[in-house]
Amino acid sequence: MLYAILCYDSEDIVGAWTKEQDDAAIAKLGVVTQKLAAQGRLGPVARLMPTTAATTLRKGREVIVTDGPFAETKEQLLGFFIVECSTLEQALETARDLGRASSSMGSYEIRPLTLFQPGSTAT
């Protein structure tokens, strides 16, 4: 079974780390992820840009695009896609395509990645 481990923390606090603190935090995690990788258990690892870089697209007959992260608390995180896009416009267009194909309502939060390691799992 594949599991996603989602990271939540205050971006105020993590964003205020110095480069040294940030590098040290990443290095410590690297020890764990390298072990997982050696065991063939590490899938993609990603770090997101701050929520200030986010744009949210509300699905529906009339798509609504707003600046900022997804903020509703009545809906839950159900999944995600990682897509290569040259611009935010292309990312929004991709999200619109997905929205048209989607059977549900809800939203897509579009947030650029600041780090991506594709990884590979044995399964």
Binding site: S10, D12, I13, G15, A16, W17, Q21, A25, M49, P50, T51, T52, A53, T55, V65, T66, D67, G68, T87, L88, E89, P112, T114
Partner: protein, 438 residues
Amino acid sequence: VTDIAWIDVALTSARPQAIGALLRYFRDLDAAEEAFQEACLRALQNWPQNGPPRDPAAWLIFVGRNAAIDETRRRRGHEELPADDQLSSPAATNAHDAEALLAEHLDGARYRDDILRLLFICCHPELPATQQIALALRVVSGLTVKQIARAFLVSETAMEQRITRAKNCIARADVPFDTPGAPERAGRLTAVAAMIYLVFNEGYSASGGDASMRAPLCEEAIRLGRLLLRLFQDEPEIMGLCALLLLQHARAPARFDANGSIVLLDDQDRGLWDRKMINEGLALIDKAMRHNRRGPYLLQAAIAALHARAGRPEDTDWAGIDQLYATLERLHPSPVVTLNRAVAVAKVHGPAAALAMIEPLAPHLSGYFHFYGVRGALLMQLGRAAEARVAFDQAIARANTAAEAAHIRLHLDRLIKDSSPSEDVPASTKPSRRVVPT
């Protein structure tokens, strides 16, 4: 990260919201700061034992407010009872229990205005720029007087006096405590954005050995910019401001050599540029461009982005930069913008066109050394060496500090060396202060 270090970061990041709310309660900056200070002391005692609260800012506001009210009552010797709503509830004895209750009362929009008000009082028009910056760093960012004094290269006593003077001015002024309407909010946002940019420039315009001491000012400005953007998520100018700061600061590791001398943009090792910051800046510009409002920060950020996107100096899209400056010139006409544009024009259309463009600026920029620096460079390229030398001398004569003179001399030496103008004169940073509407 140790517990204490974590607490320190949490206190700093909660500071603008907590002091902003306390200022709303007490309507007095000193009282708000004292209450916050007291709350921080209690946090240092309480948090290591009980663990960090879920909402540190709410905890600090609650505890700070109650501590101040208790203190007032103690001073008054219970002569008069405070109003009911000021009485601390029994739950206040355990702030952790009360926290959940309080959190329900927290109103996002109200905090937004609290933080904006706190930033806004630092931009009082009577305060000179240096006092605005010092006050913001002290009150909003929570830097110590010692840290600020170090960044400004003045004594602690002098900085203490500067901050006290600024606070006295604020205390006399009419601080607007009513919830602002849309036009007031927009006005405050513009003033605050300009102040954040001043903080950044104070750090960015440092040179040589000062640069490493002043880098924290740039980082602080970026932190304040992001804070503002989280509060006003759909403001393209605030996206532009954040992008501009990130794109400029991304070059910091390449701007000085091992001796502390300035490295001009064309000569910088672009591998040293911070890609993470650049990518964030580019993402913000992408977002902002969806809005059909191009303000001065966004335009300047877009110019910085064209430099950031160029892998090598010769890949720079000078025609694009020329167009962006032309738009900036149209929206906010200023001789300094025209001067900057002339550098791009020289690259695209040659030095003669650029020289023709800047000649009419002479009466406006006669005291401005960058004008003569650029003029000299253009004359040099046109082979008018004697006139160029005069212009260079005029430039050096107008340098304000030794560091500026050295900077210009370096720049001029370089221009003499290969007879091509370079972009990274402070003309691209300092004058933009004047571009920004204040």
